[in-house]
Amino acid sequence: MKPFHFGPTTAPLYGVFHPAHQQQGRVPAVLLCNPFGVEAIRAFRIYRILAEKLAAAGSPVLRFDYTGAGNSAGDDAAFCVARAVEDILLAHKELVDISGAARVAWLGLRFGGGLALLASQHKPRGLGGLCLWDPVTDGSAYLTEMHDAHLLELSRVFDESEKSILTKRQQVDLSAEAMGFAIGPDMQADIPDLNLNVITERPARRVAVIAGGHEDALTAHLEQTGAKITTHQDEESQSWNTDAALNAFSVPRKTLDLLVETLGGLR
């Protein structure tokens, strides 16, 4: 495991490269695309363990933080859809350069799934498959969901009604934050760009969807682009996404096994 900086020296991205334990000829390299905000913090452990498992199964792996997220340069407000898409393309090239892999599969979790779909439209050389795990495919609806979750969380931790929370924060621009993270002007402006209508090209030859239960429109849309879609149901696949899971060492083993098998087949 090798943590390092890559990308522009003035605004470096943070990445961790996991070399394959034993390179297998037909197994792709894997790029892990993070979710956004609090979901990225919650996903850290499962991504790290997944990267280790994939490396043990023969895939070189790169996980990384977008601009304005995690350890990468930029404050929260620097994060936006357009920049995150550029970061995925940059990370893809970095992974190809350091691993020498001819084929790369991307895993996109939640918001990272939507971003990976957008980035795939740029047709980066070597992208063989996409695995979308409970993907967000409507940016505006997601932002509303995050704002609602923010209010609900404040109501829970302060044990006050949402009405009371809102009354006390009349001077606060609640559209500019969600669940601990700033939502900058760029993100507010370009988050509607994350939607299925802009996916007009086949994202990759093979697309696997780990279902969160609302992917019918997504799979129908992607089939129209000519991609070969497989869907996988996994009842444990959302269990990582809670504060309780963040503070527990357990990770959903079945989901990890499913992801290793699915990603290994995306070549």
Binding site: R48, A69, D76, L154, V157, E160, E177, G180
Partner: protein, 270 residues
């Protein structure tokens, strides 16, 4: 401001990120931020990154790192318990920082279990001259209990919410007044022991800032309650306590993050 990934400790097992102020300021302490629970070194709500970068802009060199087996750090060989290993890891972080920057003063900072580990390390390592403890151990205080119950009883919406949860068959433990996210599985030392340990630290001239949030409001909800709870001790001016009752445990709101930074600026003299 520049950041550097660093691996250190036995077999380079520990990993952290140094956030460096643009120019070396020898009279400023080195700041080390410890894991909050088992969240990696980015911190809950990316708070450790935000704090480190803010402090670097105000001329501090800052390390945030992962204890053995957490985040990007590798597990330690078996032999030490969690507390012992956490102290050993933190002391290795201090070794690395002083080798790199010279024998400057050390300030340890942490939320929740991070506060506990910072405080335990300070008891064993005299190089630590400052502690920033966010939601450290808190002890039952009758005044706090009464005022918390009184405040809750005045909120009619609270009873509606509670009734709604019960009627809908929602998990009874979730969100009810008694179950707060304050101390998870933390086992605090006896009140007297904690007081004696704080006394040892203040007698050693260790400066301490203790900030309590709403997550422990049933234990402490006004700063003078701390003095009441430890009335037999004299911590002098080395120990400051503040209660931020409008702030949650992980500083979720941006306004609370800004307030924390401003409070630290004042205390550190940034």
């Amino acid at each position: 401001m520049r950041e550097e990934i660093i691996q250190f400790g036995d077999d380079n097992r520990l990993m952290g990120v140094l956030t460096l102020c643009p120019e070396t300021v020898m009279d400023k302490p080195l700041v080390i931020i410890l894991n909050a629970g088992i969240v990696h070194h980015v911190g809950p709500n990316r708070l450790h990154v935000k704090l480190a970068r803010h402090l670097a802009q105000t001329r501090f060199d800052v390390l945030r790192f992962d204890l053995s087996g957490l985040g990007e750090s590798l597990p330690a060989p078996p032999g030490k318990g969690y507390e012992e290993q956490s102290i050993a890891d933190t002391r290795q972080a201090i070794d690395m920082m002083q080798e790199r920057f010279g024998e400057r003063q050390i300030v340890l900072a942490g939320i929740c279990s991070g506060a506990d580990n910072a405080y335990r390390t300070a008891l064993e390592d005299t190089r630590v001259t400052g502690l920033i403890l966010l939601d450290p151990y808190a002890y039952q205080n009758t005044t706090a209990q009464i005022s918390d119950l009184a405040k809750r009883a005045q909120d009619p919406e609270r009873w509606k919410r509670l009734a709604g949860r019960l009627l809908s068959g929602a998990d009874e433990g979730e969100g009810t007044d008694e179950v707060m996210e304050d101390d998870n599985d933390r086992i605090p030392p006896e009140r007297e022991v904690f007081g004696q340990q704080l006394q040892r630290l203040t007698d050693r001239s260790v400066r301490m800032l203790l900030l309590y949030t709403s997550s422990v409001r049933h234990l402490i909800n006004a700063s003078n309650q701390f003095q009441q709870t430890f009335r037999e001790f004299d911590f002098s001016d080395n120990l400051e306590v503040e209660v931020l009752s409008h702030v949650d445990h992980t500083y979720t709101e941006l306004s609370s993050q800004k307030e924390l930074m401003s409070r630290l600026d004042g205390w550190l003299g940034g």
